[in-house]
Structures are given as C-alpha cells and as structure tokens.
C-alpha cells in the first residue's frame, strides 16, 4: 500500500532543551484511519505541528504523498487539513466568515468558498448559527467548527488532534460516523485522542508515542491480540456462592450477583458462559471491565 505520510528520524528539541521527539519513524498508508496515541507530553502535538507546518523540526524528514515537506511546502499544505487541539480561531468573527476566509487562504474564490462553507456548516449542524460569532458557541460546536474549517480546502489527509474532547455522546457518535464516511471516500485520517475506545473502534493502524519515542506501531487487530487477558464483569440471575471456579480463568465474586472474570489465554466468552451454566448459573448481562487497548497502552507507556 502506498504511503500517505512517513517520517524519517523526526526529532524536535525546543529552545528550552525539552526533547519532545527523539527521532520517530512513522508510516501511514494512503486511505488509512490511523491512531497516534500517547499520554500528555508524549510528543503527539509536536509531531502533528511539524507535519502540518506549524513547527520546525530540529532534524529528520517528513514525506507526504511522496513529496519531501521541505522542498514542496505549498503542495503539502494543500494536501493537509488540520484540526488542532486548542481553539485557534478569532472568537469575534462570525462562523461562516471563519470558513470562507480559510478557503480564501487556500486560494478558493469567495463564491466557491461560500458554497463549501454552507455544505460543511449544514453537515456539522451549525448552519443556524452561521452569523453568530465563534465565542458564542459551546465547546462541542467549536470543535465541529474547527473540523469544518479543516475540510474547507478538501484535503487528502485530515489530522485530528483530540477532535471529540468536550463533545457530548450524541455529537461524538455523529462525528465518528462522518469521519468514517470521509475515510471510506478515500481520505487518510490521522487521529490523536485520549478516548481509547474511539481509537479502537475507528482506526485500522496505530502508533504509540511515549516520551518522544515511538514505542509501538502496528495494525490495531494485531496489537489488540497481544492483550492476552481480558477482564469481564458478569451479572448473574442466580445468587453466587463465594467460590466460583472456571478453568484457566481468575474469578472474583464482587457481590452476590456480580462476578469478575479474568479470561485466560485461549478462553472465549462462550467458554466462560458455558462453564457458569454447568454450575447452574445463568448470565443476565456482561461487560468489559477494562478496554483492551487501554490495558496495552498502560503497559507500553508506564
């Protein structure tokens, strides 16, 4: 698969001697939905800043769609749409003007930019607020405005830095749906998020940064398969005795109708349910105690 983005030994040391990136080699395939994860201060925003042209790297190369970033500045800027973590628009400007101006900065004629702004504002359910100033929007609306702005020039690669922070569940779901639709249409999406379930459900490939070092880069499914043990919480119909045993699993009775089971390698949820059934215990509900990606993330970054 051809690459949409690659970095070669990308490093950044700030003037205060903080080494934010220590020579990372990222590879993102064309059309990928890619998660770039890391705890606070891991270097995600620095990496995104360099890739999108907001920051200068100390050393290393960035190649986008086969073009070296230092030699093809404008071609690369045209290909990238950035939705940053922090709100970075003029809060006193009407929302529609923010989008039209962004189109103008990319050379889109005003009339065409107005049409594109209308499409995106309607898509983001902000059309009714188009003449309001940006500061009057709620946090979630501001995020959607920034997403719309990032899409104004129809980029090939969309970089999203914490896109759903502060967004309510309903809007988050609709944003996920829209992002998936964009990805299905061929757009490469790079996502950083603190909601690991968001990365798990949306992304096909993943990279994890820790203290400026790339500690993992792989396919999401492969990575998740590394998580050997999954902990599930089971609500039972019958009352539980103090000692419940399931082969190759660790069981802990939490209360008379709740059991926590840590699945051993090769044990499926069906095996657990069957084992309980054999002990005359029926399952009413079950849920995952901890997100698998979260467990892996913690083990890789701690």
């Amino acid at each position: 698969m051809p690459l949409a983005l690659s970095t070669d030994n990308l490093a950044k040391t700030y003037s205060n001697n903080l080494e934010a990136l220590k020579g990372i080699n990222l590879k993102v395939e064309k059309g990928d939905f890619f998660a770039l994860l890391g705890s606070n201060g891991a270097g995600k925003t620095t990496a995104i800043g360099i890739i999108s042209g907001l920051l200068k790297s100390t050393s290393g190369e960035v190649v986008i769609d086969g073009l070296n970033q230092k030699k093809h500045v404008n071609e690369i800027k045209q290909m990238i749409g950035l939705m940053p973590q922090e709100f970075n628009f003029n809060p006193h400007e009407p929302n529609i003007e923010i989008l039209i101006n962004q189109g103008g900065y990319f050379g889109i004629p005003r009339k065409e930019a107005k049409t594109q702004a209308e499409i995106l504002l309607k898509k983001m359910e902000l059309w009714d607020r188009r003449f309001d100033v940006a500061q009057s929007l709620s946090g979630g609306m501001k995020r959607r405005l920034m997403l719309a702005r990032a899409l104004m020039h129809k980029p090939k690669i969309l970089i999203l830095d914490e896109p759903t922070a502060g967004v309510d569940v309903e809007i988050r779901q609709s944003m996920w749906h829209y992002l998936t639709q964009l990805n299905n249409e061929g757009m490469t999406i790079i996502l950083t998020t603190h909601y690991l379930e968001e990365a798990e459900s949306l992304c096909r490939n993943i990279a994890i940064l820790n203290n400026g070092v790339l500690v993992e880069q792989s396919n999401m499914k492969k990575l998740l398969s590394k998580a050997k043990r999954q902990v599930i919480i089971i609500d039972t119909v019958e009352k539980l005795s103090e000692n419940i045993e399931i082969s190759n699993c660790d069981c802990e009775v939490i209360d008379e109708n709740t059991l926590q089971v840590s699945q051993g390698e090769g044990i499926t949820i069906s095996d657990v349910i069957s084992a309980l059934k054999a002990q005359n215990i029926n399952v009413s509900h079950l849920r995952s105690s901890q997100n698998r990606l979260e467990s892996l993330f913690l083990s890789l970054t701690s």
Binding site: G53, L54, K56, N88, H92, E97, N101, Y105, F106, R110
Partner: protein, 253 residues
C-alpha cells in the same frame, strides 16, 4: 495569491468596520475638539502661521495624525490579536505566502487610515473650507505614510507579548513625534537647534508634503519629503518579511 490577499484585506476591513464605535467615532470626536480648541478658541489669538489662518494651517496635520495613528493601530492590534488567539495558525497552515500575509495586513492598515482619514476630513469640512493645492501630492503622501506606519505597527505586533506592548509605541513614540513634526506650528519659528533636530523626525517630512498638497506651502524639497518615507518603507518591509519567514514570535522554537 490574489484570492488570499483579497481575503485578508476583506477580513481586515470587515474587522474594523464591525467595531466602528471604537475605530471611526473617537478620531472624529477628537478632531472636532482639536478644531474647537486650537482653531476656534485659540486660533484667533494666534493669528496666522506662514501667512495662512491658523485653523487652515493645522487641518493637514490633524488629518495626517489620524492617518498615522489609525494605520498603525490597525495592523498592531489586528496582528497581535491573531497571535493572541492563535488564529494566525489559520494562515500558517495555508498556502498563503508570507509576503502576501504582510501585504494583506498592511493594506488593511492603509484601508483604515483612508476610511478614518476620510471621516475626519468630512468632519473638518463643517468647520473650515478645505483647500486643495495638489491632490496628487496629498494622495502620494497619504499612501507613503499609511504604508510606512502600517508596517511599523506590524513589526510592533510581531514583538508584542502583552497588550501593554502594543500601546507603548503609539503613546510614547508616535504621538510625541507627530506633535513635534510641525503639526501645530511651522518649524521656521523654532530656534535653529530644534530646527536641526526636527529633520531627524521622519514624520516631519510627511507632514511637510501633506501640508504642501493642501496649502501649497512646504519647508523642504518635495523629493526629499517623499524619499524619507520610501526609504523607511523599504527597510521596514524587508525587516517584517524577514521576521515572518523566520517565524519570529510566531513559530515555537
């Protein structure tokens, strides 16, 4: 590039038009007060300056002072605010070249200088009959002055870190230099030491050519009066463009 330039200029014009109570009304009120106090009340006691009624004499100075302050204020406040709220990143991630960004902001300053200057001139016309000796000299001086001070405001904004930093230069440098440029007097009446010192004040040259354009009287040759702001514009434009290209105080080092 033309579309990006046009976008920045339209944005700038809309910005200062939206806040017209802050940008257009105060200079109009200040001008009326100047004319009432210096022209109406004190002017009759002063009499004439270089053979011109005092009220007529100060008119070009009042208009040019407005142009200087407004051109400067527009770029310094607008560019500082884009840094302050990080909206400059909208331009940084775009394909707009740095020189177009600079040209756009400077044009915004020139536009505000023109709009407020025109509003002030209109206000003055209620107090005094405005005389015009050469519209061409007035127009050239206006453009050179507004471009120069819009560029200076831009550079001030690049270095400014707080709101105080954007008011220090206008209050402590620009205003005194404007008052000492011969706005209310002719430098011919100054002692020779102060006359000699005045030639180091760049605003003096612009004030002189602007007054020549309105009243037909000047103290220095016209080419000299135009050369000083042209030289300053070249220096300031190179400096501002260099800073933008280096990302001074815009890109985190």
């Amino acid at each position: 590039m033309w579309i990006a330039y046009k976008t920045i200029v339209i944005k700038e014009i809309l910005r200062f038009s939206r806040i017209w109570v802050q940008t257009i009304v105060p200079p109009v009120i200040t001008t009326s007060l100047y004319l009432l106090i210096f022209g109406g009340l004190m002017g009759s006691r002063i009499g004439q300056m270089r053979g011109i009624d005092y009220l007529d004499f100060i008119v070009p100075g009042i208009i040019l002072m407005t142009v200087i302050m407004q051109s400067y204020a527009n770029t310094v406040s607008s560019f500082f605010m884009t840094k302050y709220n990080n909206s400059f990143e909208e331009l940084l991630v775009s394909t707009t070249p740095n020189w177009v960004i600079l040209l756009g902001f400077v044009s915004g300053g020139v536009a505000r200088g023109f709009c407020v200057g025109a509003a002030v001139t209109f206000t003055i016309s209620f107090f005094v009959e405005i005389k015009i000796y050469s519209l061409l000299i007035i127009a050239v001086t206006f453009f050179l002055t507004s471009i120069m001070f819009a560029l200076a405001g831009f550079i001030n904004a690049v270095f400014a870190k707080t709101f105080d930093d954007i008011s220090i230069i206008p209050n402590f440098v620009l205003l005194p230099l404007t008052y000492l440029s011969g706005m209310f007097y002719s430098i011919d009446i100054l002692p020779s030491f102060w006359q000699g010192l005045s030639v180091f004040n760049p605003i003096f040259y612009m004030m002189d050519s602007f007054r020549l354009g309105f009243l037909g009287i000047g103290s220095v040759e016209l080419w000299k009066a135009f050369l000083v702001p042209i030289f300053m514009i070249i220096v300031l434009a190179f400096a501002a463009n260099f800073m933008l290209n280096r990302g001074v105080s815009i890109k985190t080092e």
